[in-house]
């Protein structure tokens, strides 16, 4: 297999809020791969994902996109450089209609590009088409999640950050989410997702990164991480005796 190009590189990043939460993380993310970000509750997965988008404070370290440092850019500039994020928790405009939300998702695009982008995501998520006139805040949780994903995809990001995309969904819909993520990789995207459904997420991932209390515990091919005894015990509910073999 030919070497893939590194699209996103974290160099010794320390990020957090009033004080650092995630420390000394280094990572090379190759183009057109899916990464699973794994860790217990409060490990710092959301904080790390948000920091890649400039939504939390970066205390030190460097973040390179296509080799150029972006850690000091605002989120607005990172969108324009080809990044997208669907954070945990609601990130739509609840009093605006679904149509207006999609217009906002295409905020950085020209008028004609925005129209095409909207049509493209409506084809991807037909359920939104029947709800165009409804207030986003009146949609079900699952529908809002779909809307937010659609908004993030409108700009055609090259790097997409997903925070718990399957949270609160039925097993069938979780499966659908994972299939969608796989097809995004098929279209050339790089996806980094934090997931509580570790098995489901590792199954479709190329690589995995495990965070514990804000520091790197492990990094490797998704398959290796899936087979790792420590991971089996900590996250997949395996019996410690058996896992160690």
């Amino acid at each position: 297999m030919p070497e893939k190009k590194v699209i996103l590189e974290l160099q010794d990043m320390c990020v957090g809020y009033s004080e650092p939460i995630v420390r000394n993380v280094s990572l090379k993310v190759e183009e057109n791969t899916i990464w699973s970000l794994i860790g217990g509750n409060g490990a710092g997965k959301s904080t790390l994902l948000k920091s890649l988008f400039g939504l939390t404070r970066c205390f030190s370290g460097t973040l390179l996109l296509d080799g150029a440092p972006i850690q000091n850019l605002s989120p607005a500039e990172r969108v324009r450089k080809g990044m997208g994020i669907v954070p945990q928790g609601r990130c739509n405009f609840p009093l605006m209609s679904v149509r207006e939300n999609l217009e906002m998702g295409a905020y950085t695009l020209s008028h004609s590009e925005a129209k095409r982008a909207m049509e493209r995501v409506l084809q991807m998520f037909p359920v939104l088409r029947q709800k165009l006139g409804e207030s986003a805040g009146n949609l079900s949780g699952g529908e809002q999640q779909i809307l937010e994903t659609a908004m993030a995809l409108e700009t055609g990001p090259r790097v997409l950050l997903l925070d718990e995309p399957s949270l609160g969904l039925s097993p069938k819909m979780q499966q659908e989410v994972f299939e969608n993520v796989e097809s995004l990789r098929g279209e050339g995207l790089t996806v980094i997702m934090a997931e509580q459904n570790i098995l489901g997420s590792l199954m479709i991932s190329d690589r995995a990164f495990v965070l514990d209390l804000g520091t790197k515990l492990m990094e490797g091919a998704a398959r290796e991480v899936l087979e790792d005894p420590k991971i089996k015990v900590a996250f997949l509910g395996a019996d410690p005796e058996e896992a160690v073999e």
Binding site: F53, G54, L55, S74, P75, A76, V79, R80, I85, P87, R90, C91, N92, F93, P94, L95, M96, E100, E103, M104, G105, Y107, T108, M151, A152, T155
Partner: protein, 289 residues
């Protein structure tokens, strides 16, 4: 009955002007999460600029109205760029202190430049009134109301139909989501502050020929408008409009049948009642149009 209707008409006129000020204050709060304690002083600045243009420069009322509104909006934008822009999220109390300071500077600056006595402004519409179906309609007040209605309709159109207006609503509804879609906060907030402050200036300019103009006229109206936006629900623009008209009419009716002293307390009594019954105000939070 006729007296009552006359009072209601006067009250709606007054309410429309409150609405101009309240909507601007609410817009700034919704987008910036700053309560602009200098808002009443920008109203005063609009009145002062109009008085200077009409009385000293001899410019006609309508051109002066436009110039005064734009001038106050520009001052508002500069205040944003120089001072308000540097606020971080959660610095609510610093915002209060800073805008109180801006208000003081405006009030004393105007007193220094123009003197602190009250001034009357005569325009071609002064002392003109019409008899409409037996009701006394004052031309200058009517013009103020029409100007207010047009400005509010224009703001509604901007917020509903333009990209920048939608971005303002988006920003007020969910900041993080606004960052995520690529909205540049400084651009949106700067425009919202300029528009909000220009509306206060417009109200002052439109009413300058009706009331006496003096440097201290800002503070009393500010507190009344605070009561109004609390009644309407912080950040809600339709709430601000409805509450303004409600207060305008109630004040006018109370003033007509009892005393002028009570008239000024009405807004605050209503505010207390609404706060007890609906803690979030009548229309809750979020810029809704």
């Amino acid at each position: 009955m006729e007296f009552f209707i006359q009072l209601v008409i006067n009250g709606l006129m007054l309410g429309m002007v409150y609405a101009l000020i309240a909507i601007g204050l609410s817009l700034i709060f919704g987008v910036l999460e700053i309560v602009n304690f200098a808002h009443g002083h920008f109203y005063m600045l609009g009145a002062t600029v109009l008085a200077a243009l009409v009385t000293s420069a001899g410019i006609g009322f309508f051109p002066s109205l436009v110039i005064a509104t734009v001038a106050v909006g520009v001052v508002g934008y500069l205040v944003y760029v120089v001072l308000l822009r540097h606020f971080r999220e959660g610095e609510f109390d610093r915002g209060i202190i800073l805008t109180i300071g801006i208000g003081m500077v405006l009030q004393n600056g105007v007193a220094y430049l123009f003197g602190s006595s009250s001034r009357m402004v005569d325009t071609s519409l002064s002392f003109v009134s019409w008899d409409v179906a037996g009701f006394f309609v004052d031309a200058q007040r009517t013009v103020a109301v029409l100007v207010g209605a047009v400005a509010i309709a224009a703001l509604y159109a901007v917020l509903t139909f333009t990209r920048i207006g939608k971005a303002m609503r988006a920003f007020a509804q969910n900041r993080e989501a606004a960052f995520i879609v690529g909205i540049r906060p400084a651009v949106i907030a700067g425009i919202a502050v300029a528009i909000g402050i220009a509306l206060a200036g417009l109200a002052g300019a439109a009413l300058a020929p009706v009331f006496a103009v003096h440097p201290a006229m800002g503070a009393p109206i500010l507190f009344k408008v605070f009561a109004i936006i609390i009644i309407g629900g912080l950040g809600s623009l339709p709430g601000a409009l409805v509450a303004s008209l409600l207060i305008g009419v109630t004040e006018s009716v109370v003033g007509g049948y009892s005393s002028v002293a009570l008239q000024d307390a009405v807004a605050f009594m209503l505010m207390i009642v609404v706060l007890l019954a609906f803690p979030a105000g009548l229309f809750g939070k979020g810029i809704r149009v």
